[in-house]
Structures are given as structure tokens and as C-alpha cells.
């Protein structure tokens, strides 16, 4: 079993189709939704984690691609610039998934991209703008 976090970007009018239902029913995947959003232009964004065998995840994603849904692997979303970061810790208390943690021996702030659910709560809290969302 693997887990894969992705951001799905739906085209206009694509929002109402039952994609998650298909992923569960037809591809036997566990689907965990972190965040969903419909933009004013009626396109949609869905942050999800897929859990299943590698093969089934691949097939599920292929199906989404055919439906013209843009798939962005989420691990690449939130980047912290190690050079500009001062390790102040202003972002630490905001992270709901423990992706940002303080090393309390070195007093350095660690970013674990694998744990990041791209909720963006930390992004505007960084005083030196070291955290960026990369789409």
C-alpha cells in the first residue's frame, strides 16, 4: 500500500462530476480529502491523498488525466527557502500536520515535505517570506 498526495485542478464545468466516487468504486482506492475549493471562475481544486497499491493509484490517476484534470504531486507544493529562513519558529505553531517542527536541541526549524498537506496556513506567517507555494 502506498499513499500519494495530489492536488487536482478541475476545468470549468468539471467540478460536479463524481470523481472521488469513481476512484473509490472503480479503482478501489482510499481517498482522503484535505481541502476543496471552487474558484470564482468555477474551476475546482481538490487536495487529496490516495491510498492503495501502486498499480491502482497509477490507473486511478490515468483515469483522471483522461478526464482533463490536472494532477500536481503535492510534495512539491510548499517550499521553504533554507537560506532566507532565520529559524524563528513563527510558522511552527500553525502547522496542523506536524510537517514543520522545531529541533529543540539545535533550535532549527525542519520542514518535512512528506507530511505537508499544503494547507498553506504557514505561508503568510513567515516574516522573511521564506515559505512559497509552488504551482
Amino acid at each position: 500500500m502506498t499513499k500519494k498526495k495530489v492536488l487536482l485542478k478541475f476545468p470549468q464545468n468539471g467540478v460536479s462530476k463524481p470523481f472521488t466516487y469513481r476512484l473509490i468504486k472503480d479503482y478501489d482506492l482510499i481517498v482522503n480529502i484535505f481541502k476543496a475549493r471552487v474558484t470564482p471562475e468555477e474551476t475546482g481544486e481538490l487536495w487529496i491523498e490516495l491510498e492503495g497499491s501502486d498499480d491502482r493509484i497509477k490507473k486511478g490517476l490515468d483515469y483522471l488525466k483522461k478526464e482533463r484534470i490536472e494532477i500536481i504531486p503535492l510534495e512539491k507544493q510548499i517550499e521553504r527557502n533554507r537560506e532566507t529562513c532565520t529559524d524563528c519558529g513563527a510558522c511552527v505553531s500553525l502547522c496542523p500536520s506536524y510537517a514543520i517542527t522545531m529541533d529543540r536541541k539545535k533550535w532549527e526549524v525542519n520542514f518535512d515535505k512528506k507530511k505537508c498537506i499544503a494547507c498553506e496556513l504557514c505561508v503568510d506567517a513567515c516574516p522573511v517570506k521564506a515559505i512559497k507555494v509552488n504551482f
Binding site: T86, D87, S93
Partner: protein, 398 residues
């Protein structure tokens, strides 16, 4: 046997001084006791690195030809104060760019401001100076636009009318929406807690009664050697203190000054507080001479001995309601979690403890090598003043 400044400086000059950081001294005293350690250790270094809005740069650009008495001026589109001598300028850390939308698009991003101008100058980046004036017989020029660089300025002095806050509030948010404050982003319903002090490493927490830190004290500021020139604004020494003399809330402050040309961007950073504004993070380090056992006892203060009040920034703080939701130690704050009203809150910090440590270690190195001598204060900081609120009144009294 008490030591004198001169004796300690003599040992520093010879490269014989024993110097420890305010963290290291805790273990030393724990191991060897006060008496023995007071004899052995000469200097303890303290430090902090956090945003301090009360900062600015006093610059002298030199004269253009023809000459000009600048009346209005901008540095990289940030308003600079020109209501002083002809080519003197003051740029405040929290000043915004002319066209910054501020919080009209809430929460404002405040991407660039006075703090960043100061950082850019120190990083030896060119900065665009624009100025206008009305013209006089002696200073006829009315408009000026030129790139300037720190190297070419006559003087560039960092002034911090308030720095090194002795203890501070822990900020929380009891409302049901996220708020953006100078204490950072605070999540609703007690979602997190932010503090801003280096605790046991912080200068004034190691000299709670200002025995060695006073007017004239030589300090490390932004990488340069500078001085304490006065007590800081809002200096409030008469707040409640615990039995060790440590204030239980924001108390003493320092006004400090240093030459920007000797500073490094490593220790000076422009910062943007979303929804609040621009500021400047300043690295400050102060060596404390171990003149006697009492001073040693003060510098061996631990995070667990320093308590800070937990304050609601959604309602109580803005409405000047003096109401602490509880007291918490820096040991608890630094553990990552505190309890408020029976709820567990994750903690975050605005001042970098990693940077504070770096500065304390750097200062230790400089003192040990004989590059940094101690300066005895020429006047002590007041111990009896009180920080007042503004009494608003409509009628003129005189």
C-alpha cells in the same frame, strides 16, 4: 572578592579572560557553585534576535551639485523623513512604500518597507533615492533622483530607540477568527500561542536590575560594535518581579546605536508581518562582566525561572484591558506546548533562538580573542520610572 571592569579588561586584552554564554553558565554554576564560578568566570555573553519596530537609520547622503535641502525623500519608494538638516535622512523600519495597499487588501502582505531598505543598504545593494524640495538661495535644487550605496554615504547609523525588551507577553487569540498581529498569526479559539524572547539568553533577563547594562555599555549590534545610549522607550522597570528580580512581563528596554557600515545582513533582516506591517529583526548581544556573586546569580537564570503573561490579542490587548489569562515559563513555551484555560496550545516564536545562540557564541569569541572590551556604564538605567498610557482629553490645559 569582587572584580573590577579594569581587571576584566586587562584579562581580555591578554587573551586570558574566561568567557561563557548565558546558556553555558547555567551548567557551570550547577556544577561548581556560585563562589567558585564567580572567581573563575570573567564574562557571560547574552543575545537576542527578534523583530523590533522601533528601529531606523540616520543617513547623510552628502551634497549633490547644485546643492539641495531635501524636503521630501524616498528610498526605494519608502518614505524617508527629511525634516532635518539639508541632506540628513531618517528612514524608519516600519515605514511603507508609497503605493503599498497596506491592509486595504486584508491581510496586507507588506512586502517591502523601511526594514528592507536598511537590510539592502547593509547588504551593499544600490538603493534609489528620490527627493523634492522648494529650493532656496543656498540650496537651489528642487528635484533629485540618484542611486546610492552605503559605501558612499557619509554616515549611516542604526538607531533603535527601543530594543532588548526585558521579557514580553505571550500572545493568544480567543476570538473565532484568525488575527494578524505584531506577535504573528494567531489562530482562532486559542489555536496557538506566540512568544518573542530568547528567555535565558536574553540580555536584560540576565541583568534584571541593570547593574552592568546602562548608558555607555558597549554591545554587539547587527554585527558591529555599538552602544546603549539611553533607556529604551516604554522602559518600565517597576513591573512586578519574582524573588530573583526577574520581571513577570514586559519591563526594561534599551536604546541602542551602531554603525551600519560595520554591520552584516546576517544579523539584520527586514521582516514583513502579514496584516501588520514591516519591521526589522536586529541581532543584539551584550557581554556581562562577572563582577561579583550577585551578578553571577543573575546570569545563571534559567528558562524555568522566567515567567511571561499570556495575553489575548483579539480583544484584551487592543482594548487596553490588563488581563493575563495565566503565567507561563519559557521552559514550557520552549517545550512546544502550553496549557491555557485547560486547552493545549502549540507554541511558536518570533525571535530566533538559533540566531541568538549564534550571536552569544560570536560575542564570546570576540571577547575571548581580545577584540571586544567591556565598557562600564557612565550612568545607570532608571529603576523607578513607570510606563504610562495616553490620557486622552479634549480640553487644552494651559
Amino acid at each position: 572578592m569582587p572584580k573590577t571592569y579594569e581587571e576584566i579588561n586587562e584579562r581580555i586584552r591578554k587573551g586570558e579572560a574566561v568567557v561563557l554564554t548565558a546558556e553555558e553558565i547555567i551548567d557551570a554554576v550547577g556544577k561548581d557553585g556560585l563562589e567558585k564560578t564567580a572567581k573563575e568566570v570573567d564574562v557571560v555573553t547574552t543575545a537576542t534576535f527578534g523583530p523590533m519596530c522601533s528601529s531606523g537609520a540616520m543617513l547623510n547622503t552628502g551634497h549633490s551639485n547644485p546643492k539641495m535641502k531635501m524636503q521630501k525623500a524616498w528610498l526605494n519608494e519608502v518614505n524617508a523623513y527629511a525634516g532635518i538638516a539639508a541632506v540628513d535622512l531618517y528612514v524608519g523600519a516600519s515605514e511603507l512604500q508609497q503605493n503599498d495597499p497596506a491592509n486595504s487588501r486584508y491581510p496586507g502582505e507588506f512586502n517591502y518597507g523601511g526594514g528592507h531598505v536598511i537590510e539592502d543598504l547593509i547588504a551593499r545593494k544600490d538603493v534609489l533615492l528620490k527627493a523634492t524640495s522648494y529650493g532656496t538661495d543656498c540650496y537651489p535644487r528642487k528635484e533629485l533622483e540618484s542611486w546610492i550605496n552605503l559605501e558612499d554615504l557619509n554616515e549611516a547609523v542604526l538607531v533603535n530607540p527601543r530594543n532588548g525588551y526585558q521579557n514580553y507577553n505571550v500572545a493568544v487569540n480567543q476570538s473565532d477568527k484568525t488575527i494578524y498581529t505584531y506577535m504573528g498569526k494567531l489562530l482562532p479559539k486559542l489555536g496557538n500561542a506566540n512568544y518573542c524572547s530568547a528567555g535565558q539568553l536574553s540580555p536584560l533577563l540576565n541583568d534584571p536590575l541593570y547593574r552592568t547594562i546602562g548608558i555607555g555599555t558597549r554591545i554587539f549590534i547587527g554585527g558591529a560594535q555599538g552602544y546603549v545610549y539611553w533607556n529604551g522607550t516604554q522602559h518600565d522597570p517597576t513591573v512586578a518581579r519574582n524573588k530573583n528580580g526577574v520581571p513577570m512581563g514586559g519591563a526594561g528596554t534599551l536604546a541602542v546605536v551602531g554603525d551600519m557600515k560595520q554591520m552584516s545582513p546576517e544579523f539584520i533582516r527586514g521582516v514583513s508581518m502579514t496584516g501588520y506591517g514591516v519591521s526589522l529583526a536586529v541581532g543584539l548581544g551584550i557581554p556581562i562582566p562577572i563582577l561579583d556573586e550577585e551578578i553571577l546569580k543573575f546570569v545563571s537564570v534559567k528558562d524555568s525561572d522566567i515567567l511571561a503573561p499570556i495575553v489575548d490579542y483579539s480583544h484584551d490587548y487592543p482594548n487596553a484591558i490588563n488581563n493575563a489569562l495565566g503565567m507561563v515559563s519559557y521552559e514550557e513555551l520552549k517545550s512546544g506546548k502550553i496549557q491555557v484555560n485547560g486547552k493545549e496550545l502549540p507554541t511558536g516564536s518570533l525571535s530566533s533562538y538559533r540566531k541568538a545562540r549564534e550571536i552569544a557564541a560570536e560575542l564570546k569569541k570576540q571577547v575571548s580573542k581580545g577584540d571586544f572590551l567591556l565598557q562600564e556604564p557612565i550612568q545607570n538605567l532608571p529603576l523607578d520610572t513607570k510606563f504610562k498610557s495616553l490620557k486622552m482629553r479634549e480640553g487644552k490645559n494651559d
